[in-house]
């Protein structure tokens, strides 16, 4: 049996969703047997290969996030997003009530613990987007698993459905926004 190829990336997020991916108890054994993780934060592979399933966590907060989301969308057959940030914007989008300039000034200059702060301007750093947005604001998403982080049973359900060849839609009792 050929393994299903998966690539994952975390965008504007806290890592909690990727942690939760590993936190699905014994189900991970069966899933690991059936899938091959290509690029993901654990393998540290830099390029996205062509994959069956692309998995994103996090919102789109800067141009790099935007680029990665677009690239993975092109390289994968099915794109699944995990967590409130990717589904709704989540915590990163709480900055949207302010302008990008206000946010940068507050964080790098005005915080109480900062002395002689400076807004980073290196060309190597990806530029912040005006607003942090959910992934489907830029690319087509096939499956959404909300939660902060999503519950293990929801992740388990979504991955198992995918491996069975179905596009999962979370049943009501597995839906959580917190």
């Amino acid at each position: 049996m050929t393994k299903v190829k998966i690539a994952t990336a975390w965008l504007d997020a806290c890592a909690g969703c990727h942690m939760s991916l590993l936190d699905i108890d014994e189900a991970i054994i069966d899933i690991a047997k059936a899938v091959e993780f290509t690029r993901c934060p654990i393998t540290d592979i830099k390029e996205f290969p062509e994959v069956d399933v692309g998995l994103l966590t996090g919102a789109l907060g800067n141009v790099e996030h935007e680029e990665e989301a677009k690239e993975l969308r092109e390289k994968c057959k099915i794109l699944i997003v995990l967590g409130d940030c990717a589904c709704f914007g989540g915590p990163p989008s709480m900055r949207n009530a302010f302008s990008k300039e206000e946010v940068l000034r507050r964080v790098y200059i005005e915080t109480e613990s900062t002395k002689d702060g400076k807004i980073p301007s290196s060309p190597e750093l990806p530029a912040l987007l005006e607003k942090a947005l959910p992934v489907n604001a830029e690319v087509k998403v096939d499956c959404f698993v909300p939660g902060c982080p999503p519950r293990a049973e929801a992740i388990k359900y979504a991955l198992t459905e995918l491996l069975q060849g179905r596009i999962p839609v979370l049943p009501s009792e597995m839906m959580r926004f917190d």
């Binding site: 589904c87 709704f88 989008s93 009530a97 839609v169 049943p171 009501s172 009792e173 839906m175 917190d178």
Partner: protein
């Protein structure tokens, strides 16, 4: 009211019955047909704001909200077509993208009606772009926070504030998609006319209005819910207490949209965060005057020894019992029986005994046999009144939910509100007429009104000792025109309910009570309508128990006083004076106070949440309070303490 005609509808292919005057939603609910709602709240007016309850009605071009659609015989309704369900999900997506609904740190997450509908409709992402509006959070109120980011403009808070509380602080401001809920003229809630009753909080379906004292302390499904009765004042509101890990998480009105539903800030909030210092062990004052922690046995022994000692050295009348009417009937009765039968004294009173005697003597002096405590009007009478006359009372401060009856009568019945009070009065600025006579001028004003109302009605069967209006004006410092205007208002009204409180009851002037009652009699053709705002949670129960002796106990100058204060935090001057003149003072109380500091023996007492019992509300309705918390370890129930004392006193001394 005539019986409403029965009608038959066809809902989802089933024949269901309802009554004429019902809405389609009423009939769906009565027949267990699920229709989702957000802006609907039973007991409030229906506004059709959220459109979640849209249903297809045969003959209508488009879906209609079930909550505002009047049902009629033969109506054919569909509530669950695929198209309707799609619309509902779409509405949820629009609501979620309209403002900033961040569930992950919301205090209401898990208890939120919007969130649970989103789960039901499997809304795993909204298909619309977010607007991310920049909205304020109003945190200036002591108890409530309004977070406009989470508001869905259902208007339940606005309606409950207007229709149930009657205060109408909240309303909508601005127009279209800029609409927000505002307080008064867009003031911060903490700087507005808000009385912090928290009814809006209980009505809010999301986390837009949340409580500073309850947020993040537990979700409803983690708590045990217990129905009880609030004993903080004599209105006797039904409460629903949510308890988690022996802590009160939240107190809700048992029936939010009912008359006693809104609760007040004390009943809803102050009990949750109680900061007063509790007494948790018995204390005995040693010879040096220092309070020493004692065992129950030592403390009870010390009280029993003192009682025996005073009984032997003096008459039993040197011993007096005083109990707070915050205690339930069972405690009052047991205490009275103990003092009477076991101690053998008839020197017994309640802390608000003077108020009771003033009222009783005032009633007696009126000479009317129809006037007695039992013929006092129920609070509901206020709702039917065309004029409410508040005399010597500040109900918004002392009995806030009773004040809500008045505010509601104003809103719904266009009742006129007259306040006559010498003190500052919170209700005054909300009244149609506010008379502030000089202290001491109250009598003259009431008597002048009695004269004016009697003359106009020519209903009086006896000559009046009425004060002339000019005389009253002079004594009270009010204008004669204002007094005359007040009389006109009373004369012009059909149903006048007179409400009086501590400003009359604490004056120890039964004549004043008689005048007020006479005014209440003259103002109505069908008998007097009056309500006395009694000072404590179970005042009426304690008053009716007949445990007070003669003129109270102060004149007897008791040498030993046993004061059962329980969790009463109000200490009247006469009570303090009595305690100070006592040679031996036993105080059974929940909280440290000047009284416990003056005591020779202090016995810890449970608070309302830790005891059960029956209370009689100011208008005679019995309510049962439940024990919602386990008392701190080592605490005994009041009844248990009295029983142990009795046992100790009755036990014959045996030789070792």
């Amino acid at each position: 009211m005539s019986e409403r005609k029965e009608i038959t509808l066809n809902i989802n292919g089933e024949k269901v019955k309802g009554k004429e005057g019902d809405t389609v939603l009423d009939i769906c609910r009565a027949n267990n047909i699920y229709v989702p709602t957000l802006c609907y709240l039973e007991g409030l007016s229906n506004v059709g704001a959220c459109r979640l309850c849209v249903v297809d009605i045969e003959g209508e071009r488009r879906p209609n909200p079930a909550c505002t659609y009047p049902a009629r015989d033969g109506l054919v309704v569909r509530t669950n077509t695929e198209q309707l369900e799609k619309y509902r999900k779409q509405i949820l997506e629009l609501i979620f993208t309209e403002r900033n609904h961040f569930c992950f740190f919301c205090a209401a997450s898990g208890d939120c009606e919007l969130q649970s509908l989103a789960y039901r409709y499997q809304m795993d992402h909204p298909r619309y772009p977010y607007t991310f509006p920049s909205l304020a959070t109003d945190t200036l109120n002591d108890f409530l926070v309004i977070d406009h980011n989470r508001c869905i403009l259902c208007g339940r808070c606005v309606r409950v504030c207007n229709e149930v509380v009657g205060n109408h602080t909240l309303d909508f401001g601005r127009r279209g998609w800029r609409t927000t809920v505002i307080a008064d003229f867009n003031q911060a809630l903490g700087e507005s006319s808000c009385i912090s009753c928290g009814a809006c909080l209980q009505a809010c379906p999301t986390g837009a209005i949340f409580s500073k004292v309850s947020a993040y302390r537990g979700r409803v499904d983690e708590c045990q819910g217990i129905q009880s009765v609030c004993s903080l004042c004599s209105v006797g509101c039904g409460i629903h207490v949510l308890v988690k890990d022996n802590n009160i998480v939240r107190i809700d009105g048992a029936n939010l949209t009912g008359p006693k539903g809104p609760l007040c800030n004390r009943g809803r909030f102050l009990q949750v965060y109680k900061t007063a210092s509790r007494i948790t062990t018995p204390l005995i004052i040693d010879k040096a005057g220092i309070a020493q922690t004692a065992s129950w046995e030592e403390a009870i022994d010390s009280v029993a020894t003192a009682i025996k000692d005073y009984r032997r050295r003096y008459k039993t009348s040197s011993i007096a019992g005083l109990i707070s009417s915050i205690c339930p009937n069972e405690t009052v009765e047991t205490f009275a029986r103990f003092m009477h039968d076991t101690v053998g004294t008839s020197s017994l009173d309640i802390v608000d005994g003077n108020a009771y005697r003033t009222l009783a003597q005032g009633i007696k002096a009126s000479g009317k046999s129809s006037l007695k405590l039992e013929t006092e009007s129920p609070l509901e009478a206020i709702l039917g009144a065309s004029c409410v006359l508040v005399v010597g009372a500040d109900p918004l401060e002392s009995h806030p939910v009773a004040a809500c009856y008045m505010l509601r009568a104003r809103t719904w019945n266009r009742a006129q509100l007259v306040v006559i009070d010498s003190q500052d009065n919170c209700l005054g600025s909300r009244a149609d007429l506010w008379l502030q006579p000089n202290v001491g001028g109250m009598d003259a004003v009431i008597r002048a009104l009695v004269g004016l109302v009697a003359n106009k009605n020519e209903r009086s069967d006896q000559p009046h000792k009425a004060t002339s209006v000019t005389g009253a004006a002079q004594t009270s410092g009010l204008s004669a025109a204002l007094i005359a205007q007040t009389a006109d208002m009373i004369n012009g009204a059909g149903q006048v309910v007179v409400v009086f409180g501590d400003g009359i009851l604490d004056r120890r002037d039964p004549g004043l009570v008689t005048s007020v009652l006479e005014l209440a009699s003259l103002a109505n053709t069908d008998g007097p309508k009056w309500i006395s705002l009694k000072p404590r949670g179970n005042s009426r129960g304690a008053w009716e128990a007949g445990v007070t002796s003669g003129d109270g106990i102060a004149n007897a100058k008791p040498r030993l006083v046993y004061l059962l204060l329980a969790d009463d935090e109000y200490i009247a001057e006469d009570c303090m004076a009595l305690a100070e003149q006592a040679e031996f003072l036993v105080v059974q109380a929940s909280y440290a106070s000047p009284l416990t500091r003056a005591a020779d023996v202090v016995l810890p007492s449970p608070v309302w949440a830790e005891r059960a019992g029956t209370y009689i509300s100011l208008d005679g309705k019995a309510g049962r309070s439940q024990r919602v918390l386990e008392p701190p370890p080592g605490l005994k129930d009041d009844l248990e303490i009295i029983a142990e004392l009795a046992q100790r006193l009755e036990k014959r001394r045996r030789m070792p």
